[in-house]
């Protein structure tokens, strides 16, 4: 597995796209710092971007890399290597290299700006951790979708639709249902609704930590009253873990049943 991880990782690190991704975050972080002149404000803006964009990039890269490695996978399948090692190796290769671009791209400008002396360091670290979680989650989902779809175009379409649903449509539906069922006790429903969407969950997690009530929103408030800040943080991180785990498990299962 580690050998395969190594090959896909270096393959990606050598590719142009990793640099584009890295430079994009570098520019974004630098611009935000320049405009805001305030670390904690920059963190909030950054959060809004990361939470939408990181899933999109994980999804697109995951699907693209999966289909582009078709030859590599076929070559490996005839070798004395476990199937699960092949796919987990590829998956980790993508997820790790994307996470690196993210961490370096955002981390470097913030460090240069004097992050270590700032109180925002923990908020900032949590933001990066969440970004890494989202990268792993959405790369995993993308791999699942590509494994299930022989047709590249279809796979790409489904993956983008999945992202659109979780990043945009879900929130709308969620809000509408909250308004619609106004008269009922909605705490639990909204808790579950948040946990079922890793993007919402990540947002809640960060806002909990930032503890800005104005931004917390309904679910965040429910989270806070229900679990308290600390327990809320722990629970949302655990659920994010599950979100990483399930796609990975399904990926192994699915790949074990597929003909190549």
């Amino acid at each position: 597995m580690f050998k395969i991880l190594k090959y896909s990782f270096f393959d990606l690190v050598r590719s142009r796209w990793s640099y584009v991704y890295f430079l994009f975050y570098l520019l974004l972080a630098a611009t935000l710092l320049f405009l805001n002149n305030d670390l904690s404000k920059a963190v909030i803006t950054l959060m809004n971007v990361i939470i939408i964009l990181v899933p999109l990039i994980g999804t697109i890269f995951g699907v693209m890399y999966f289909y582009n490695s078709k030859e590599f996978t076929e070559l490996l399948l005839a070798q004395p290597i476990k199937r699960s090692s092949i796919f987990i190796g590829l998956y980790l290769g993508v997820a790790v290299s994307l996470s690196m671009s993210l961490l370096l791209g955002i981390g470097v400008p913030f460090l240069l700006y004097g992050l270590t002396q700032s109180a925002a360091i923990w908020d900032f670290s949590l933001l990066l951790i969440t970004g890494v979680f989202l990268t792993f989650i959405f790369t995993g989902i993308a791999f699942n979708i590509s494994l299930s779809n022989e047709n590249k175009i279809k796979g790409f379409g489904y993956a983008i639709m999945m992202w659109l649903f979780l990043a945009v449509i879900y929130d709308g539906l969620f809000l509408m249902s909250l308004v619609f069922f106004e008269d009922y006790p909605l705490d639990k429903l909204s808790l579950i609704g948040t946990m079922l969407n890793p993007i919402d969950l990540s947002r809640t997690l960060i806002l909990l930590k930032l503890d800005i009530s104005a931004l917390l929103g309904y679910t965040g408030a429910v989270f806070k009253t229900f679990f308290g800040t600390n327990q809320g943080l722990i629970i949302s991180i655990s659920v994010l873990f599950l979100w990483v785990l399930f796609p990975a498990i399904r990926m192994v299962r699915k790949s074990n049943k597929k003909d190549f």
Binding site: D11, E71, E74, L75, A78, Q79, P80, R83, D259, F260
Partner: protein
């Protein structure tokens, strides 16, 4: 060494293999023949564990291959369509496979034999069909495993390379390997094969050596004998 029992495979509704039984005990050269789409590659990929049978079992050295992967150390495989990562150079591809599979003592010798050193620095994606096939051959013969599976090894080769390939296959046989080949080039098959396995409509339609085949079909010419297997079935 290879035992296939009641192997069934269908892709969605397309029934490709329906109860293939095959036992290859001794070393030697076996040819799987059959028309396009008769399931030769499917049978081979099932043995390699790339295609999963709908029903039936496959054993290599008396061990079931189901959910196993270690047994592939015993097998060298030359795929029918050589799909390699196109952004790698030939030498990077070779060293990558060596790294994944353990060291090879024969790669230099094979690279020389097939003249691959001339394009070691080329990207795989820019190779000609025959160059790609030569690379494919080097990769397949490199590890000296006891079982050798070659799916259409002659595709695209020039006459010189073809002669080298035949000699190489004969040499491997003399060293006690079991070699499984598919090919549509009848002169090639006739020259090298010990046993023929003829697949038709999902089953083994004929199994035996060339003289048995000629006797059964009362044809003196090998190519005609094979053709008559096909025709007699269609009448």
């Amino acid at each position: 060494m290879i035992k296939v029992q009641d192997l069934h495979k269908k892709f969605q509704k397309n029934i490709v293999l329906s109860g293939v039984n095959l036992e290859l005990k001794e070393s030697g050269i076996y040819s799987i023949l059959g028309p396009n789409g008769s399931g030769k590659t499917t049978l081979i990929k099932s043995i390699l564990g790339m295609v999963l049978p709908t029903k039936g079992s496959i054993k290599i050295n008396d061990k079931s291959i189901k959910a196993a992967w270690d047994y592939r150390k015993q097998i060298d495989y030359l795929p029918q369509i050589a799909n390699f990562p196109s952004n790698l150079k030939v030498k990077e591809l070779i060293s990558m496979i060596k790294d994944l599979r353990g060291n090879s003592k024969r790669d230099k010798e094979l690279i020389n034999l097939f003249g691959v050193e001339k394009f070691l620095d080329k990207k795989v994606g820019t190779l000609s069909g025959g160059m790609k096939q030569k690379t494919n051959i080097v990769l397949a013969f490199m590890f000296d495993s006891p079982i050798l599976i070659l799916d259409e090894p002659t595709t695209g080769l020039d006459p010189v390379a073809l002669i080298h390939l035949k000699e190489l296959i004969q040499k491997e046989k003399e060293r006690g390997k079991l070699i499984l080949i598919t090919s549509h080039i009848m002169s090639f098959v006739e020259e090298i094969t010990d046993e023929i396995v003829f697949l038709l409509e999902g089953n083994v339609h004929f199994e035996g050596n060339i003289s048995e085949l000629k006797k059964q079909t009362s044809e003196q010419n090998f190519e005609r004998a094979i053709a008559s297997l096909l025709i007699s079935n269609h009448v």
